[in-house]
Amino acid sequence: MPELIDNLYSLGEPIQDTKAPGGPIDQKWTTAKFENKLVNPANRRKLSIIIVGTGLAGASAAATLGEAGYHVKSFCYQDSPRRAHSIAAQGGINAAKNYNDDGDSTYRLFYDTVKGGDYRSREDNVYRLAEVSTNIIDQCVAQGVPFARDYGGLLDNRSFGGVQVARTFYAAGQTGQQLLIGAYQAMERQVAAGTVTQFTRHEMLEVIIVGGVARGIVARDMVTGEIETHTADAVVLASGGYGNVFYLSTNAMGCNVTASWRAHRKGALFGNPCYTQIHPTCIPVAGDYQSKLTLMSESLRNDGRIWVPKKREDCEKDPRDIPEEDRDYYLERIYPAFGNLVPRDIASRQAKNMCDEGRGVGPQVGDFRRGVYLDFADALSRMSRHEIDAKYGNLFDMYERITGEDPRVVPMRIYPAVHYTMGGLWVDYDLQTTIPGLYAVGESNFSDHGANRLGASSLMQCLADGYFVLPNTIRNYLAGGPFEPVADDAPEVQEAVASVTSRIDALLTVNGERTVDSFHKELGHIMWEYCGMERTDAGLRKAIDLIRSLREEFWRNVRVLGSAETLNQSLEKAGRVADFLELGELMCIDALHRTESCGGHFRAESQTEDGEALRDDEKFAYVAAWEFTGGDRGPLEPPVLHKEDLVYKFIELKQRSYK
């Protein structure tokens, strides 16, 4: 029995090898592509791949592997692959094209991404990401993605947070939609060609492992309730992030951790689960009924001024009646150099601090008012209404539609919201998890963003993984196939099916008093309070206790009506929330063990004199990869921590400063 640390986890063997080739960093990907084994076109027809998820990573991987000639089975829980939540990404996609000759390069994109990630990502992977970024733009343009263009007919760029070059390609405020439709169309072309079979309204509930390698999944047909087994030579998870563990986030209602968590429970290590990104400019919560949070583009901070009343008693007043001297433009006060344009994590944390002091504005939800003003009065006196609308009109309209208030008249109210999860399944250089034959791409893996993701980088990573990286690494594994077919009555398959059906039965037979949503909301509240923007030792310990007792109550007191044999949305939600209740505990343990602050992970005990995140590179320059050790529908066994040391050979570690 390994020694328990803090009575919560134990330390396992470190991860020694990420499978990246040696040599200079700019040669590694070329080397890997050459050294990875090939599968000849005739043999590809004999090989099958399951892909779970149809967002940018999943759809692009399905299209590309289908084009190559493999048999692909693609799964999504939505009614069409085109609905995946990549579609909601607004801003843009980065690529080191250097079309503006402003000094951009692969190396600079690599450098910016590592720095933006607060030096907690793996150099080799990030360099490759920067390297293939330019191919993504070429591919998308060829597919007909209507990127913004200038009057000369060439592609337009804009700059984005945290960098000094203009390398972001965009399609109005709907870049994610346009890229996803491009990948979706490429995938549908393969459906027509017969290489890809799509299974919509299907949810993966278990991974099938035979002889230690991934050989398939168990999925539920969400319309008929049928439990299906699908076997293949390899399985790819492209199932997105887990921000919905917080209940309220900018994720879609259906986004969930189940595919990743089921894989984790079967042996895939989970990397850096506590790294979450909180976006500073979202529309605040209006009431207890709130189901999701909506992002307002960060660009608003270019012209809006953020403030709260100096006096608590002013918080209920009409903001237009609060005189200038009674307003606290707190970001301009604390950070005179960057003002309202400080990075996302700092802007978020300070908004929370103001509200914790009782100076928040807007409706009171629970004990506090959770909102700060983003005021365009100055901008409106400087610019014409027409000029302002040209820049922000669509955002103002969206805000007005949701809140009923016109930000041209009354200051906008904003508050931070969970937006993205940098953590995810641990993968090696080939994007393979610790289960052979099981790969993870896009937001579902942990690999490229370290402790903080830069804007316009998530689309880049998803398409890099799906179009260019995975197809060139998975062949090295598939070259060892085709593997022995797995029979439907093989004991491993039967066992996976039995575990799914017994779990569904368990959810349907508790017949308790509380709805699934009420558990999800309570979990979200715990996570947001104690594992959100600011984390403390005491708070995290408290959260672990609260989550454990909530999970215990869930399996004793949840009410899921209806049957397993029909479309049953309560049952779908219940399975997802059950997994979030396990993930939440691991996130808190990870956040507790990492006593440094870095990127989106802010430990109150580790800050500079100025209140900035203070890293501890001596102790924590590693990826925390967690191993599941047991427990189901109740207490979990203490997880085992495996460390992958991060070695910086090319980039020097520095402390961030924005004063």
């Binding site: 069409s80 191919n135 539609r401």
Partner: protein, 244 residues
């Protein structure tokens, strides 16, 4: 506010369906329409009744998953998606009738959920540009006149929700189809397959039992993304040219 909801309940495609009346209270005008339905569902579960099944995902108006005929209008009284419709568009005491999309090509699944996979099959018939990964040329070798790029983009903003079909008395899918024909047809990359695309997609559209177009314009009026009616003209022009 207090409301009376009349909601279509149907256990499955082969079951009989009916409108069921549900009174709801304590609805805030800041709730979205779907949050109002969430509140109803929580109450129903509390009473031991199965909740109303309806589709939604992003709840920010872009994924196209939500639907609903609200008082006979696709996505309700405002020009937006149902998830972006808020209760301030209604008044205390209102009676609201909520039904699924009604169209031959969109068979009912359960309650307010329909099967829109016909749209996927229309895209499969030719709604793409055939270029394998890795075969692309350098992006700026392809120049696109700005007005064409802008028109392509405007057409490409279609979210595939199906409101156009639900609003059309003929349940035609021409606005959806025209949007894709216009998006790809405006771009130089889309020219090689332009003629075959329109023929194949239109054939599939008809095979899916979508109705014909009589230029009534209900589709464009209901479209939450403002796809203009002229994409159907474009579709017709391209089709005539292709058949010549």
């Amino acid at each position: 506010m207090k409301l009376t909801l009349k909601i279509w309940r149907q256990a499955g495609p082969d079951a009989a369906g009916q409108l069921v009346t549900y009174p709801v209270e304590g609805i805030s005008e800041d709730m979205s329409f779907l949050e109002m339905l969430d509140v109803l569902n929580e109450e129903l579960i509390g009473k031991g009744e199965e909740p109303v099944a309806f589709d939604s995902d992003c709840r920010e108006g872009i994924c196209g998953m939500c639907s609903l005929m609200i008082n006979g209008q696709a996505h309700g009284p405002e020009v937006t998606t149902t998830c972006q419709l808020h209760m301030r568009s209604f008044s205390d005491g209102d009676v609201i009738t909520i039904e699924p999309w009604r169209a031959e090509a969109f068979p009912l699944v359960r309650d307010l959920i329909v099967d829109r996979s016909a749209f996927d099959r229309v895209i499969q018939a030719g709604g793409y540009i055939s270029v394998n990964t890795g075969a692309a040329v350098e992006a700026n070798n392809i120049q696109v006149q700005k007005h064409k790029a802008d028109r392509a983009f405007d057409a490409a903003t279609c979210i595939g929700c199906g409101a156009c079909v639900a609003a059309c008395p003929n349940a035609s899918g021409m606005l959806f189809l025209g949007a894709k024909i216009t998006h790809l047809g405006e771009l130089p990359q889309g020219q090689a397959e332009r003629d075959s695309r329109v023929v194949k997609m239109l054939n599939q559209h008809d095979a899916e039992d979508f109705g014909g177009c009589q230029n009534l314009g209900e589709c464009a009026a209901a479209c939450p993304k403002g796809i203009p009616l002229d994409v159907i003209n474009q579709l017709n022009r391209d089709f005539m040219k292709a058949k010549r």
